[in-house]
């Protein structure tokens, strides 16, 4: 029974993540290269935001079904990810103040990827700590 709930929650999280990916990437492409009106672009950008909120909601609900060790791993992954994100922001802020920040590598699209990468780095470190 408990395993079924866990599997269902896991499946729901994977599906919502896929839905987010499927809506996000084409819409980014469309907004960037589609030559759309600004109003339409803004309207379109709401779609991946909604799918992401649904994904995050499923992810948080899934956390509740995990056992203590896996919850601790997720917690530490987020803590490490958050600390690295703050560090990155600090570095970018200092570079910006110094006037040497290259926007080419510090745009919001890149930041998003960095933050995700930081979470996965945190997950890798936390998993190594608890799971052999």
């Amino acid at each position: 029974m408990e395993t079924t709930i866990k599997k269902k929650a896991e499946k729901r999280t994977i599906i919502t993540a896929l839905i987010w990916g499927v809506t996000y990437l084409p819409i980014i492409y469309l907004i960037k290269h589609g030559g759309l009106d600004k109003g339409v672009s803004v309207m379109l950008s709401v779609i991946p935001i909604i799918t992401f909120i649904i994904y995050i909601y499923s992810y948080i609900k899934q956390m509740g079904t995990l056992d203590e060790v896996k919850q601790r791993i997720q917690f530490e992954a987020v803590v490490i990810g958050f600390a690295l994100s703050l560090l990155l922001m600090l570095v970018l802020c200092l570079l910006d103040v110094a006037g040497v920040l290259n926007d080419k590598y510090a745009g919001f699209a890149y930041l998003e990827m960095y933050l995700m990468a930081f979470y996965f780095i945190g997950l890798f470190i936390a998993r190594r700590k608890y799971i052999v």
Binding site: E68, V69, K70, K129, Y130, V132
Partner: protein, 66 residues
């Protein structure tokens, strides 16, 4: 914190996966607890003790540095 989970498992002839099924956690979690990498909550410790039909004190003991 040291524990006697491995000994108690051996008495029952259970694998880590068997114990995990009995107390409703993952095998990796059992391994993390058994190797002392993770200290379980009171609820989980009590569930383990129930599964092994012993007391929590038999399963977990404080060490001098605790």
């Amino acid at each position: 914190m040291k524990n006697t989970i491995k000994v108690e498992r051996a008495k029952k002839n259970w694998t880590q996966a068997d114990l995990a099924t009995h107390i409703g956690i993952s095998r990796q979690a059992v391994n993390a607890i058994e190797t002392g990498k993770f200290v379980p909550s009171t609820v989980l410790a009590l569930r383990m003790a129930t599964a092994f039909e012993c007391t929590v004190e038999v399963l977990f003991q404080l060490e001098d540095n605790n």
